[in-house]
Amino acid sequence: MSTVTTQRLRARRRNWYRIVGDGVLYVVLSLIALGFIAPFVILASSALKPLSQDLFGFPPDLIPRPPSMDSFREAFRAVPLLKYMGNSIIYAVTIVPLSALVCLLAGYAFGALRFRGRNIFFIMVLGTMFLPAEVMLIPRYLVASDLGITNGYLGVILPSLLSAFGCLIMRQAFAGVPTELREAARIDGANEWQIFSRVMVPAVRPSLAIVMIFGFVNVWNSFLWPLVVLNDESKYPIALGIAYLAGIGSSDERSLAAGSVASIIPIVIVFLILQRQIMDGMKGAVKG
């Protein structure tokens, strides 16, 4: 009788430890989260504050009284942000699928086929990942100007099509597909293209989704190459447009904040919807 009660007491105490421990953990996690969220909150609050309210001050006052869209209106008036977002969408709908196709084809060859020189080709493609952007900046700009594609949509699109990261992920994905699948299709009389498009590609759809999601994030946030290759502001992607807004004298801190918030919203929505795929995909890429 007494041993039962002490056992129960002990169990209850262990439960208490657990609850307190979890509570402490939640507090720590929340404090860290605050550090990651605070700059965004400050940005959003600066964007929403009415003109009559100070942006800065001790102690900080983050609540807009009342929230106002004036700064957003001013940002969209100062620079054609909608045009920039449209440009980013043009870049995204061309670069993301085309680059995914390149990665699919290459990943299939590297991951599922056997041929002479496979490793050399693969190392060449992978090597591009370890080349810092600034090293290739000048010569690639000269190549683009030789090709006559600077200052146009093509100049941004074409050099962005090769994604070593995407090729790597697709290679891992295709290598993971059982060879029996291909052999069965071949016995059924499928040719190599049919095997690829009807059997193998459907089998790697999750990895393809990851490549396309990351492709979209990269395109939406691309900055350095468009900055170099474009002279004409009308073709700027959104991130470059925001930097342009930050650089021109006519913009004030409020409209800059509003423009930045507007530029973040689409990517945050994508991230909210696809966060599981994004994070699991990233982890999978590391393991592979």
Binding site: F56, L131, P132, P139, R186, V217, V268, V270
Partner: protein
């Protein structure tokens, strides 16, 4: 029928097909050139946007090349000029500061974050989401957001003055003593989430039994971290180290938006210097020479890192 058998000319070695040779032999094999067809797009892009530029870069480094002036072959002048360029020396030193300053923020802190997030708790996904959010937003927007944090009357100065660490608000981005640390903070803050995710992948591969048996043996949480987590994380630490080197040498956008290399070159990174030489001052030949040297340095660093990881692996296995 020579075509049908030619695929078997492929790399000889431990072939899986020996297990079932008869079944294999019956299959209609594809033409030998089919794999290469799949590689045509990727190799075309490689040649046009990597190989060709690489050759150009090599050539350009020996020329005095600018868009406005005629091109002159200058032998080693660009490289000699590098030795006597105080701004280059400053940029290289700064890049070293970036490389070392970012280490704790990208290699150490994310490991602790990953350990915290690897607990079985309700709603842990929300925290993961928030820690990762800066990774998916653009560096431009992130840098703009931090402008408000670093403002004279911004939240950071308010916090520091009210705790009493400083008496007067600091102009973080305009003060030569703080500007580079401000950039490091922004860069580290933005990329922490992706490093954390790398560690999280590694942590989830560690068997829970290890921790259980350590607990039974009386090891506390810190001992478990020190003797189980960290040793098993060594391969992942090497991965983050390699990525950190890449990130640190590529710092550009944050500098462009926040300081433009200033004040007095205190935040000038190699990437920003190369860009500014080539596209603001049109000294493309000289900038190419710097790129080339940087490239060689980075290759050497990558090889060194690889060698270390190889030797470590031999030591543990």
């Amino acid at each position: 029928m020579s075509v049908a058998t030619s695929t078997r000319r492929g790399p000889a070695g431990p072939d899986v097909s020996t297990a079932q040779p008869r079944k294999r032999a019956k299959l209609r094999e594809f033409h030998w050139f089919v794999p290469y067809l799949f590689l045509v797009p990727v190799m075309m892009l490689f040649v046009v946007f990597f190989a060709w530029p690489a050759v150009l870069a090599l050539q350009l480094a020996f020329y005095d090349y600018s868009i406005v002036n005629p091109t002159v072959f200058v032998w080693w002048d660009n490289f000699v000029h590098m030795v006597n360029d105080p701004r280059l020396r400053r940029a290289a030193l700064n890049s070293l500061v970036y490389l070392i300053g970012l280490l704790p923020l990208t290699v150490v802190v994310p490991l602790l974050l990953a350990v915290l997030l690897n607990q079985k708790l309700r709603a842990i996904g929300i925290f993961r989401f928030m820690y990762y959010l800066p990774v998916v937003t653009s560096m431009v927007a992130v840098a703009v957001a931090w402008r408000y944090v670093f403002h004279d009357l911004g939240i950071l100065n308010w916090a520091l003055t009210s705790i009493g660490i400083v008496d007067q608000p600091i102009q973080f981005l305009l003060d030569q003593r703080t500007s580079i640390w401000a950039i490091i903070l922004v860069e580290g803050w933005k990329s922490m989430g992706s490093y954390m995710l790398i560690y999280l992948a590694g942590l989830q591969a560690i068997s829970a039994d290890l921790y259980e048996s350590a607990k039974i043996d009386g090891a506390g949480p810190i001992q478990r971290l020190r003797h189980i987590t960290v040793p098993l994380m060594v391969p992942f630490i090497l991965v983050t180290l390699t990525l950190e080197m890449q990130d640190a040498t590529q710092i550009f956008t944050s500098v462009y938006v926040l300081t433009a290399g200033g004040p007095a070159d205190s935040t000038l990174s190699l990437g920003y210097y190369i860009w500014s030489l080539a596209f603001e001052q049109f000294q493309m030949g000289y900038a190419s020479a710097i790129s080339l040297v940087l490239w060689i340095v980075l290759i050497l660093m990558a090889v060194g890192n690889y060698a270390v990881s190889r030797s470590k692996r031999f030591a543990t296995s």
